[in-house]
Amino acid sequence: MDVSFISELKSIVGEEHTLADKESLACYGYDSTPEYESRPGAVVLPANEEEICRIMARCHAAGVPVTPRGSGTNLSGGSLGRPEGVVVQTSRLNSIVEIDEENLTATVQPGVVTSALHRAVEAKGLFYPPDPGSMNISTIGGNVAENAGGLRGLKYGVTADYVMGLHTALPDGSLLRTGGKAVKDVAGYNLNQLLVSSEGTLGLFTEVTVKLIPKPQAKKTMLVHFPVLENAALAVSHIVAARVIPATLEFMDRVTVKCIEDYAKVGLPLDVEAVLLIEVDGHPAQVEEDAVAVRRICAEHHCSSFQTAADADEALKLATARRVALSSLARVKPTTILEDATVPRSCIAPMVKFIQDTARKYNLTIGTFGHAGDGNLHPTCLTDERDKDEIARAHKAFEEIFDTALAMGGTITGEHGVGLSKKKYLPRLVGESGIRVMQGIKQAFDPTGILNPGKVF
């Protein structure tokens, strides 16, 4: 990147917060997405909203692409910049501006780490439910941009359900304010919701106001073992069909359980085909009733063992074990290609079976885990990137898995976003008119196309 442009960036954010040496840039050439790399021209770490707007305006004038980045934990290549562009990392904007206990809202800067927000609001007896597996690392800005889900999505929904207001820096450097603390607001188009899951292509969030709810009074965490995989998947569908809505209803197959246990040593069983991690919460009486129902349904589906966490510590251990599922899988082979296929909940059993058959057909190891209660599965192929043939087979297998998910009325991504890695599937999902409308929206926000170009479509 041009030296004089870099010194302009330095004059905005300061020398120390502008990176342009090749070693630093090499470290921003990746995020958590396997197989994708792209080294940006420069990286800046601004300190506040004003600096962000100035960077945007400057890049807009010079036609330089800008890519927002939180912690780079996304799984779709979304935070990778362009060689001729600038990456704006928001980590320094990490303060919680306000927790409004009267209105039940929290206002935070975009670089606040998700779990830091959890801790802050829970200390006041409040609750911010979205909890992606990456919550100890990911930022709120990144969560909003990807509409991140999490382990509590089944009962409490995803990030979009909690975003009330946004400050967004637009490409020309102006600031757009959408939504706010008012619970009801039907004025004009719902730009607020439109910006959620925009993957950094419409604007850069500089402040986020989220809705809080009272912290549930009680909860129960259960771990259920199934000797037959399809029975576990059926149990998921039947729990939901029985109108019991657990906060968490997570599925892990044998491959996944073994890897997690290798790392976390929490005493997961190694001799079963699948495990469900179930958490019910709410009023103590309701929690009891739900737990009984869950237990009955699991028994009807021939679970081999049903374990209830004795205390909060044990419950936390189990949930933590689930959070490391993805990374644990990388113990087996270095390259884990994780997917994000999502189907209607009634289709979980046939989908899980289809994934297994496909793995066999292509001679691959695929571990499957996921937010089964939402129908959101993460088949994860364990490969070695040095084995080109294996990688090619993995991609073929995933093509079939996605086609099947679409045929079942599902989608190509439940929470990780389109980014670079799902681009080719998007038209299959939304059709020509869908792409046309989306491109029109992009044009309205970003007429010169400098914001995170090449992502989504």
Partner: protein, 416 residues
């Protein structure tokens, strides 16, 4: 460097929030994920080894918090340390390194003689005069930092005063070999004395072979593999001469290194036996927690515990020290936020990388203050040095003790 270890990092970022240098800078180059990426780029020929790149790698504290956090089993800290070693291979040690690593450390008597002037310097009051006049400001800043870290040295190193065999009190339950460790014996001889006394009061006969040498960890850190192997061979030989149930140390750094002897000396089966016998003092004491509890007097102190990296991350010992503190009657134990984050000491890191070391230390001090404790307890000499200096400057000052000092103070009759 084994390439597969590098590509094993799947870049999930689980290690980022645990890395002290990332927490301070938010820079990917100062994160475990980034450090692995840099080494990988070198291996792949994508980056060449430059001054800047080495500078980035050298900012790693080698605290191994990343290893505890990584679900894929990647140990970025160890890889960086190994990488620094590899790059040294074949290169001569500098005169200074040669002096310290080869001529001083392996010879405890010489080491003790060399530090004697310091003891004199402190006891004659010269230190106070020097500090007051700021004479050290005239010397290079490194010297000043080293001087500042020096606590009051004991009159004599423990190696010189302890008996080779300390008999068990009451019926004998077994024999323990005590590994002294250079800094513990030289600087924290009181804590180590307490270690020996606690073990004997629990019925162990304690053998302290006086000929023992430095564990070799400083050699490893400086890339002097030969020096490390020499030390390992010597110590294995020496301890093999005794029939022991455990080999105990109260130095986290030594413990971590001694536990690796079996791996370093693959061809010597005695080394594996040696390593299998090594325990941190807190592990052995915790085995007898109930028995110990019955012998303890109340201590009404507000106490918090800092996990040394070499104990928590390298040896996976977290519960034992806490168990031991919790059995002391009336002791008010408060959990320290980010307890297992590095204190910035990191071997000689606090002298070589003062700026980052201070930032990491500041965070630790703030966390300690937030607990309201009046005593900080830890279990490793590097942390004791670093935190004693920092916490003495607080108002009111916060005392810093080794776990064994707390227990010894509470034991009936008092040991110290």
């Amino acid at each position: 460097m084994e390439y597969v270890k590098l590509i094993n990092c799947m870049r999930c970022g689980m290690c980022l929030p645990q890395c002290p240098t990332y927490k301070e800078t938010f820079l990917e180059t100062a994160s475990p994920r980034g450090r692995v990426a840099l080494m990988r780029k070198i291996e792949e020929g994508d980056l060449e080894v430059s001054e800047r790149l080495l500078e980035y790698l050298s900012l790693c504290l080698d605290c191994q918090a990343c290893a505890s956090a990584c679900p894929c089993g990647v140990n970025a800290g160890e890889m960086v340390a190994g990488y620094r070693c590899e790059r040294r291979d074949g290169k001569e040690l500098s005169t200074m390194e040669n002096l310290i690593l080869r001529r001083l450390l392996p010879h405890p008597d010489r080491l003790e003689a060399a530090t004697a002037p310091m003891r004199l310097y402190q006891r004659t009051g010269l230190q106070k005069v020097v500090r007051k006049l700021g004479i050290l400001k005239m010397f290079p800043p490194t010297l000043e930092r080293m001087e500042g870290l020096l606590p009051e040295l004991p009159v004599k190193p423990l190696r010189q005063t302890i008996d080779e065999v300390t008999p068990a009190v009451g019926p004998e339950r077994g024999t323990i070999g005590f590994f002294l460790g250079c800094v513990m014996s030289l600087v924290f001889s009181e804590a180590s004395y307490a270690t020996v006394k606690l073990l004997s009061s629990l019925g162990y006969r304690v053998v302290t072979p006086k000929a023992q040498k430095c564990c070799g960890a400083p050699n490893m850190l400086s890339g002097d593999r030969e020096g490390l192997l020499d030390a390992a061979r010597f110590n294995v030989d020496l301890f093999a001469g005794h029939r022991l149930d455990f080999i105990v140390t109260d130095c986290g750094g030594c413990g971590a290194e001694l536990k690796k002897y079996g791996h370093h000396l693959e061809d010597d089966s005695r080394a594996a036996t040696f390593s299998a016998q090594v325990r941190d003092i807190t592990q052995v004491l915790a085995l007898h927690a109930d028995e110990l509890k019955a012998k303890l007097n109340p201590l009404s102190l507000k106490v918090t515990y800092h996990d040394p990296c070499h104990i928590a991350h390298c040896q996976g010992i977290r519960q034992e020290p806490r168990t031991l503190l919790r059995i002391v009657p009336e002791l008010d134990f408060r959990e320290l936020p980010e307890a297992d984050a590095c204190c910035g000491s990191g071997g000689t890191y606090n002298i070589e990388k003062p700026e980052m070391s201070d930032r990491v230390l500041r965070r630790k001090v703030e966390n300690i203050k937030a607990t309201g404790a009046d005593v900080l307890v830890t279990a490793n000499p590097g942390c004791l040095l670093q935190l004693r200096k920092a916490l003495a400057q607080e108002t009111p000052p916060i005392r810093v003790l080794h776990v064994t000092e707390v227990l010894a103070a509470s034991l009936l009759p008092p040991l110290l």
